[in-house]
Symmetry: C2
Subunit: 197 residues, 2 copies
């Protein structure tokens, strides 16, 4: 399984935002594109993917490809799925996930816990501009890619991530948006490190 | 310069569509993402890119990276730039482009003419699932990548493209959405064929 953990630092956890202004809602436009980039193929969904969207270091919206229904490519409908999940936050008690739509769950869990939980089942890959070139690294069988949104990770998050990461990976000479980075690492995995087409 | 030609077969050329339903406006959500994927880096714009969005085989909205202002990453604002361009279609007479916002022009020109015009200044690369693996092809100095939207090219368009194309390129074993394909070919170019990071 491929997993993605994306930290949305500025999404209003109250779920009080308009679908007409996703940019103003903590860059939910970008985060919605991260979710769709992690799952969508031209004619279907990547069912062997799990994506964790950490909201405000407080909640995590988890998307499970094997169960996911109703994920469309546009930002607005994906943002609506995220908003629906956040609306159920009163139901997310302790560490018990609440399914808010098919394949989408809300868990009361911040960045460090989400990372620790995922890290137990795969190889943590930090995407970083000072990392090793992707082409020089073998594609792990069960990679867990960790990205931030439009903001950098905080120093505290960086420390947690440095401790957990098995690899630091650079996808190219240009710094890309998080959603574009997800597309590139999928291509890296799909082609087994640009060798199998 | 890198160029992209994307044919949006079903965009209403009347410009009468709502920004709240881009999916219903001939998949303008996808086309807007194609435009942003072709230009946006994490901290800026690719100024050495030109993107041609063919609308309904009748008009072409041309985005010029060296002149472009006000392109934001979200679908909605990019779709608004496209709508603004199409609203000026009465002004687009003959082959004279009309600048509709900084770096965005509308030209009364269909797919074949847009392709022929661009082809005179570079290497035409058709993105195709039966093409050569990207890793086996040298990155052209002045590539022109040609993609369709959610629909396949018509037989007539395929014939025009086959005649013009210098290469047919496959970016991986999975069929990707057009916007994701743009991100992958940028990475191929940025890294000079996955060799330079």
């Amino acid at each position: 399984m491929r997993q993605f953990i994306i930290h949305g630092h500025a999404v209003p956890p109250t779920a009080e935002f308009s679908l007409d202004d996703l940019t103003g809602a903590g860059r939910l436009d970008l985060l919605a594109r991260c979710v769709t980039a992690s799952f969508l193929l031209s004619h279907g969904i990547r069912d062997d993917v799990r994506t964790h969207l950490v909201v405000n270091d407080e909640f995590t919206v988890q998307f499970d490809g094997s169960q996911l229904r109703g994920l469309h490519p546009d930002e607005r409908s994906t943002a609506a799925l995220i908003r629906t999940a956040l609306e159920e936050k009163a139901e997310a008690i302790g560490q018990i996930p609440v399914e808010t739509s098919p394949g989408v769950s809300l868990i009361r869990r911040g960045f460090a816990e989400t990372l620790a939980d995922a890290a137990s089942s795969g190889t943590v890959v930090q995407l970083h501009e000072d990392g090793e070139p992707a082409v020089d690294v073998s594609v792990p069988a069960e990679p867990i890619f960790v990205l931030s949104d439009h903001r950098d990770f905080t120093d505290e998050e960086e420390a947690v991530l440095a401790e957990a990461a098995d690899h630091r990976l650079r996808v190219g000479p240009q710094a890309l948006h998080a959603d574009h980075t997800i597309t590139v690492v999928h291509n890296w995995c799909d082609t087994d490190g640009f060798s199998s087409y």
